[in-house]
Symmetry: C2
C-alpha cells in the first residue's frame, strides 16, 4: 500500500469517525466509501481500534508541529499564545474533522482509554500550558491555573468549529456565514483582553 493510498484511507476513516463517532462509524461503511470490503481495511490496519488510534496520533502530531512552528517564528510569548489560539480556530474551522475528533475523544476517551491506554492529547495540552506559563499572564502563574486558561481559550476556539453542521442548519447559511466571518477577530479580541488583564 503506497503512502498516499494509506493517507486516503485514513482521511476517509477520519471523516466518518468525526461525523458519527467511534461507535457510530463502522469499518464496513468506511470501506464502502473507499470501494473496498471491510476485510481489506482490517487487513491494513489490524482492527477498528488501531485505525482510530493512527488517526488520533496523526492529528496530535500535526497539532504539535504547528505549535512548534509558531513558537519558533514568534518571540513574545503573549503573541505566541494569541497566534496559537486563533490559529487553532482557523485550522480547526478549515478542517472540522480534526476538531470533531478531538472533541469526541475528550468525551469518549475514558471508556476507550482503558483498552487503548494512550493519551493522544496530552503532549499538545502540555505544550500550550508551557506557552501560558512563559507568557506570565495575570492570575495564571501556576500549572493548574495555566491549564484552566488554556482550556477556556481552547474551548472558545473549538466550540464553533465543532458545531458547524448543527448551527449552519439551525440559523441558515447567511447568518452563519456572518458569524463565521467575524469569529476570528472576536476570538482575537477575547484572547487579548484576557492577556492584558491586570492582577
Amino acid at each position: 500500500m503506497g503512502e498516499s493510498t494509506r493517507e486516503k484511507f485514513l482521511s476517509v476513516a477520519a471523516k466518518q469517525f468525526a461525523e458519527k463517532g467511534f461507535y457510530g462509524a463502522s469499518i464496513a461503511s468506511i470501506a464502502t466509501e473507499l470501494d473496498l470490503t471491510k476485510q481489506a481495511l482490517l487487513h491494513h490496519f489490524g482492527s477498528k481500534e488501531k485505525l482510530y488510534a493512527e488517526i488520533l496520533q496523526g492529528i496530535s502530531n500535526s497539532n504539535l508541529r504547528r505549535i512548534s512552528a509558531i513558537r519558533a517564528q514568534t518571540a513574545e510569548p503573549k503573541d505566541q499564545l494569541e497566534a496559537v489560539v486563533v490559529g487553532e480556530f482557523e485550522q480547526q474551522y478549515a478542517n472540522p474533522v480534526a476538531s470533531a475528533l478531538i472533541m469526541r475523544e475528550l468525551l469518549d476517551n475514558e471508556r476507550r482509554a482503558e483498552k487503548a491506554g494512550n493519551w493522544f492529547l496530552k503532549p499538545y495540552l502540555d505544550a500550550l500550558v508551557d506557552i501560558v506559563l512563559g507568557a506570565n499572564v495575570a492570575a495564571a502563574k501556576t500549572r493548574p491555573e495555566a491549564l484552566a486558561l488554556v482550556y477556556q481559550l481552547l474551548g472558545a476556539a473549538m466550540y464553533l468549529p465543532v458545531s458547524v453542521p448543527t448551527l449552519s442548519k439551525m440559523y441558515g447559511k447567511r447568518l452563519f456565514e456572518e458569524l463565521r466571518a467575524g469569529y476570528s477577530s472576536e476570538l482575537r479580541r477575547l484572547v487579548q483582553s484576557r492577556l492584558n488583564a491586570r492582577d
Copy 2:
C-alpha cells in the same frame, strides 16, 4: 408509571447517552440498569429516538428556566451575562451529564435532526444572544457578532466539564482538583475582561 419513576428512567438513560453517545448506548443496557427489559423501556417511550428527544427537551427547558431566573433577579445585563456564563459552568460541572449531552448533540445533530426534525438548543442560544445584545458589549452589537461571543463564552465554560473524565485521568486527581477549584474565578476573569474591553 408515576412521574418520579419516569424521571428515574430518564435520568439513567441520560447518563448512559452522555457516557456513550446515542449510538454507543443501547436501550438494552439502559433497561438493565433499571432492572427492566428493553421491551418495557420501549413500551414507555416508543423508541430510542423518542427517549433521547425527551431527555434533550428536558435539558433545554431547564436551561431556559435558569436563564429566565437570572434575568429576573439581575438588573444589569453585563451582570446577567457573567452570572449566566459562570452559572452555566457551575451547573454543567455539577451535572456533567447535561453538558456532555449538549456537546454530543452539537456533534451529532445534523445527521439525527433529519429524522428528529427538532432544534432543542435554539431557544437557549437565542436567549443568550438577547442578553449580549442588551449588554451593549464592544464589538458585539449585531446578531451574528453577539452569537459569536456567546459561542466563545459558552465554549470556554463548557469545554472543561465535558473533558472531566479524560482530564482527571490524564493529569491525576490532585492536579485536576486544583484546576477545577480555580476554574470559576478564571472564567469570571475572562468574561469580565471581555465585557469591559473598549471599542
